[in-house]
């Protein structure tokens, strides 16, 4: 029996990973020629669900039908044969091969492969849907959006009529997202059925026909996009009403905690990554740092934290020496030496699992990384870190089977909570956070904002490096704008518009005095 109205139907799907019940009795119904948005927070089981369609996982229980016919999908190959193509969140591309080689990989017959033919085919396909792509370019030379283009063309090349996109916009700029959506609409007009996974509400409303919501692995409901709004979707996704505005309490006690004076750094190629950067971070306020990606944000935090070499300038930390505040130079000291001076500075790096935490170690051990050096003798005390880990899990609502779960197995939001929780537990004087909500869903993001405001109220000088200008404008007390390693101004976000800041991000102000607050 062939049912042309339903591209995919999934019934009563269950999936376990060890003790974690990732999908509990989930349903999904994708109609032919529609765009269905799959909405849910991190760890709600969206990716797990679609991975059972793409053949990466096999359901522990439940039924799948494609075009009304019950099917068993055992491998990615089976998925292709059914016309299902998945564009993964983490691209599955081979960097040393060309675009065309990646696209044709694993497809086609015969002993030899004609580079000429596949190059021509890929170029033709790219042109038809309006992509820009050089088939002979190596993938390691490509930008993220080009890589995504390859992934999409790869799926089309195999003749898929059902496309699944896992968080396709997470890595794209707004302009690239617009282009992608235009392509998706072209495909829909072409009769293709599309599932798009996202947690960005405005995108859901912009592109989809219907929305399916998952929460903690459970099916919550399906709504027509035309009949819903952001508030309703958020409520279904989170399970309770959430206010979408960010609080900005008045700064508590203001005094300069950290002074950066004329900080200048060079990279390996001898190019200035930071050029005469000066500012002060005050206690009890959040100092936002805005700028186009690669304007020196990473170098700035790492130079302050003692992880990046500088060639000039100074960083002074106002420390309390037996009751008298003194300014100590910390630039050029190693993180260890900074700690030895009795300075408590916390740093939440951008690369959470690379620089912040050890993915293969459990929560207790990761928490312990910051404190085990205080132990005397050859043995480590695991009891206190375990207590702290348990407290963090409870207070920050970290979803994990227990303290002995490897951090790498947690979802992005939970990883960030472990990291931020550990740093806050140090009771730092300065807290530097780099892109703290990148890849996090609404609920986790707001939890992080609350935590930062809590630190601010306790008199911590918070330095918040962000990419979402809307968020920075709402949460920061002052906003420092970087442009090409230079400070193009420090402004009060209450008094300037987003456009003003956008302009400062692209050009250094002629007269610093005018914009400085």
């Amino acid at each position: 029996m062939n049912d042309d109205n339903h591209a995919i139907q999934m019934e009563g799907i269950h999936k376990f990973f060890g003790k974690v019940h990732a999908n509990k009795d989930v349903h999904l119904d994708l109609r032919t020629g529609e765009i269905l948005a799959l909405l849910g927070e991190n760890g709600s089981g969206k990716t797990t669900l679609v991975n059972m369609l793409s053949g990466v996982y096999f359901p522990d229980h439940g039924e799948i039908s494609v075009h009304g016919r019950p099917v068993t999908i055992r491998s990615p190959r089976d998925a292709f044969d059914l016309g299902i193509g998945m564009i993964h969140q983490h691209f599955k591309l081979i960097p040393v091969l060309t675009a065309a080689e990646n696209i044709a990989l694993g497809f086609g017959e015969g002993l030899t492969i004609s580079r000429k033919r596949i190059n021509a085919e890929v170029a033709e396909l790219a042109a038809r849907y309006g992509f820009e792509l050089d088939p002979t370019q190596k993938v390691y030379d490509m930008s993220v959006s080009q890589k995504q283009t390859i992934e999409i063309i790869k799926v089309l090349y195999r003749g898929a009529d059902i496309l699944i996109l896992d968080e396709p916009t997470a890595v794209l700029t707004p302009l690239e997202t617009e282009k992608l959506f235009a392509v998706l609409r072209n495909m829909k007009a072409d009769g293709k059925s599309i599932i798009i996974i996202t947690h960005k509400l405005n995108e859901v409303l912009a592109i989809s026909d219907r929305v399916e919501i998952l929460r903690k692995g459970e099916f919550i409901g399906v709504v027509k996009t035309a009949n819903t709004n952001q508030t309703q979707l958020t409520e279904m996704m989170v399970g309770r009403p959430v206010s979408l505005s960010i609080e900005r309490p008045e700064p508590a006690t203001e005094c300069d905690r950290l002074q950066v004076i004329g900080l200048t750094c060079l990279n390996n190629e001898g190019v200035k990554t930071l050029d005469d950067v000066s500012f002060a971070a005050r206690s009890g306020e959040i100092l936002g740092i805005a700028g186009i990606a690669g304007s020196g944000q990473k170098e700035l935090c790492e130079a302050i934290a003692g992880l990046y070499p500088s060639i000039g300038g100074s960083v002074l930390y106002t420390n309390d020496q037996e009751g008298t505040p003194v300014r100590e130079r910390i630039l050029g000291l190693s993180p260890d030496a900074i700690v030895k001076k009795g300075i408590s500075m916390a740093f939440v790096p951008e690369d959470r699992l690379g620089m912040g935490l050890v993915a293969a170690m459990d929560i207790t051990d990761n928490v312990m990384l910051r404190s085990y050096k205080d132990n005397r003798g050859p043995f480590v005390d695991r009891r206190k870190p375990k207590e702290l880990a348990e407290r963090l899990i409870k207070e920050l609502e970290i979803v994990t089977p227990g303290t002995s779960t490897a951090v790498g197995r947690l979802s992005g939001g939970n990883v960030q909570k472990v990291l931020l929780g550990r740093e806050i537990a140090l009771q730092p004087g300065v807290l530097i956070v780099a892109y703290p909500v990148r890849g996090l869903d609404i609920n986790s993001s707001y939890k992080i904002y609350d935590l930062l405001n809590e630190q601010k109220a306790r008199g911590v000088a918070v330095i918040f490096i962000g990419e979402d200008l809307d968020v920075l404008m709402e949460i920061a007390d002052r906003l420092l704008v970087l442009c090409g390693g230079k400070v193009s101004g420090i402004v009060d976000p209450r008094e300037v518009t987003k456009e003003d800041v956008g302009l400062m991000m692209t050009q250094v102000a002629q007269n610093d005095g005018e914009v400085a607050a």
Binding site: F17, Y57, P76, K92, P95, V96, L105
Partner: protein, 330 residues
């Protein structure tokens, strides 16, 4: 002077051939993402199996009253040594691909196992044959230099290119076939994908396990043939205790030196071969022989330093090498 240089080059080619075969086998294996450090073990297994294969063939035919043929004897050695090396690799493949055991540990164990396997059966057949095991002159002749009409008589060039035993040409042919395989064939492209990123290859519908098994087993077979060269050519068909020792590790180093390219492997094998036999052709008074023996290993260390400093994406180890793949891993 010319004579010394020619003689050195010829000797370098002869000494480099078993290294080339070992390295080619390992290149094929590593391209699939399996870092099989058991090259030495598989070469030992191939060495003894090839020798015993030829020996048994001769004994059987002589006992039946026939005259053994050199060509068939060589063919038997080739097939049996391939099978022995492939068998060693199959153990490795089963442990790492199916049971997902640690690749480094498994490879080291294979080296220890293969070394013991080779020496044990070498001694065993030696005792049975009454002292030492050796093949007859017919087989030895099959492994001696070939004289091509006309070609071999060209001055200098004829000596340098056309006066080797058949295994030298065989090794170069394997290198050429592998070069074509990686460059032009669909399966070669698939194999490279499996070695670079098994998850991506899997998502593209390529069977990671099948490619890894085949590449590892065939690669192991080629290593086995390299070992057979040691027992049939280098030691002239006599089993010498520990005859492969050190060669397997040099072959692994050669893979790095050749930056995973079969054709560069040919060139680099001659260089390594030359370093190994240099002391017989260039004598520096007062320099102990042991210093000469160190040179290939010093060169290996040098290569490791150079390759790690010069970071190239193209001439690097396959990115997935050394990592086992499990689809549902999170």
């Amino acid at each position: 002077m010319i004579d010394t240089a020619t003689a050195l080059l010829m000797a370098a080619v002869l000494a480099g051939t078993p290294l080339l075969l070992g390295a080619l086998g390992e290149i094929l294996t590593e391209k699939s993402g399996n870092l099989n450090l058991g090259v030495e073990g598989m070469m030992f297994m191939g060495a003894i199996a090839g020798l015993i294969g030829s020996y048994s063939y001769e004994q059987a035919l002589t006992a039946a009253g026939f005259e053994p043929s050199g060509a068939i004897s060589a063919l038997v050695a080739l097939i049996v040594s391939f099978l022995a090396g492939a068998f060693g690799a199959l153990i490795y493949a089963f442990l790492t691909i199916t049971l997902r055991a640690n690749q480094n540990v498994t490879g080291l164990i294979l080296t220890i196992f293969g070394t013991g396997f080779g020496n044990f059966f070498g001694e065993y057949f030696g005792l049975k044959a009454g002292g030492y095991v050796t093949v007859s002159s017919v087989t030895k002749a099959a492994f001696s230099p070939i004289h091509f009409p006309l070609l071999s008589d060209i001055p200098v060039l004829g000596k340098l290119l056309f006066q080797y035993n058949w295994m030298v040409y065989f090794a170069v042919a394997v290198a050429l076939v592998m070069f074509w395989f990686f460059r032009k064939s669909r399966f070669g492209l698939n194999l490279r994908a499996v070695g670079e990123d098994p998850a991506a290859a899997d998502a593209a519908g390529i069977s990671v396990a099948r490619y890894r098994y085949l590449a590892t087993v065939i690669g192991g077979g080629i290593c086995g043939i390299g070992g057979m060269y040691m027992s049939m050519v280098t030691t002239s068909g006599v089993w010498v205790h520990g005859c492969v020792t050190g060669y397997g590790w040099l072959a692994v180093a050669l893979v790095i030196f050749a930056t995973w390219s079969p054709l560069r492997g040919v060139l680099v094998a001659v260089i390594f071969g030359g370093l190994m036999i240099m002391r017989m052709y260039i004598t520096i008074p007062g320099l102990p022989a042991q210093i000469y023996d160190m040179v290939p290993y010093l060169a290996t260390i040098l290569v490791l330093i150079i390759t790690s400093v010069r970071q190239s994406k193209e001439h690097a180890m396959p990115a997935g090498c050394g990592l086992n793949y499990f689809r549902e891993d999170r």
